[in-house]
Symmetry: C2
Subunit: 207 residues, 2 copies
């Protein structure tokens, strides 16, 4: 079964809600998802304004402690998540969700202490985690995710790429209760599968 | 019954498809719609970049033959449509649809000949139409539409404003066959009414 790919960034509260939704679908409804990274700092970087598809400035070319708090925080979180992925799919979901919850529910900063706490909550092998996130392979894996996102034209998170190829940003403001997860997701899928070829539904914001 | 308001611009092929969809819903499914104008030329004008809600540059402050072809064409089309509206709801729909079809199906230019042909197709009282579209009242009515759109934060067309207050851009690439109109529209309404408070579904575009 081809999985649905989710591009996400730990900085983004909408990505957090998207991942919570997907977690219910995979646990309760036998759906499969592949997690990949898209960087909002990279996507919105002025040097990348000319083309979404051909980034000039790459997050993976930066030092882990360089730039703004959002830049270094998201880079370190991505590398940690790539390292968590090497401990298996369940460990990776547990880590990603623990980190998202710490930041967007617990309002923790995306810093070293928060990464370590999430690794602990997820039950990771902490020694291996620390080794792997320093490893060049984590940076190479992140680079591959960012390159795939650029190719696809991802511009925000979460973006879901369905098995049939539909790919769209899916932004919602409320956490979805587990019993509504399937209906909510099916609504999104129905929009993408409609014969009308729906490209955008986007709310206007009042003054 | 509170109508659903549709903001549209004759320049926009998505607005054309939105109006065709709404026309099926009002004729076959007893739904009511109010047509209003949003100007893409005004919305995208560099002088209005600071705020969607407080336009500095107004289309209604321009001469009918000034600016780019898109600017003068859309202004004249709006004034003509405001004049058509004074001949009753059916006449107005007939005019708006005739003009949209001429431009987006027939690939006619949005010029004087096309406006006159649409008025004829719609069976308007042509003398009254010509008087009314020169009248200051048409410009005042257009200004009121553009001001209401700015207040709402409209940024593209078509934007539908549902009776309960949900307002969103609804862009789809394929004309919807009449027998699928209700399902397609209901899908859009369901997205806006979802408890998840869906704010955006937007496709990514591949390189």
């Amino acid at each position: 079964m081809t999985p649905t790919t989710i591009y996400f960034d730990f900085l983004c509260p909408y990505a957090w809600r998207g991942l919570e939704l997907a977690d219910v679908l995979r646990r309760d409804h036998a759906q499969t998802f592949e997690l990949r990274h898209f960087s909002l700092v990279q996507g919105n970087h002025p040097e990348n304004a000319a083309s979404r598809h051909v980034p000039i400035w790459w997050l993976t070319d930066q030092a882990s402690d360089g730039g703004s708090a959002a830049q270094s925080g998201s880079l370190r979180a991505f590398l940690a998540d790539q390292a968590a992925a090497k401990q298996g799919e369940e460990a990776r979901w547990a880590f990603a969700l623990a980190l998202f919850r710490a930041v967007h529910q617990g309002k923790a900063e995306l810093n070293e202490a928060t990464l370590q706490a999430a690794a602990q909550t997820a039950g990771l092998d902490l020694a291996r985690f620390d080794t792997d996130r320093q490893d060049d392979q984590s940076r190479a894996d992140l680079r591959a995710d960012l390159a795939a996102a650029a190719e696809l034209g991802v511009f925000g998170t979460p973006t879901f790429v369905l098995p049939q190829g539909h790919a769209a940003y899916f932004r919602f403001a409320n956490l979805v209760p587990p019993q509504q997860a399937l209906d909510t997701y099916q609504l999104y899928v129905s929009v993408l599968e409609s014969d009308a070829r729906i490209e955008t539904v986007k709310r206007a914001k009042r003054a």
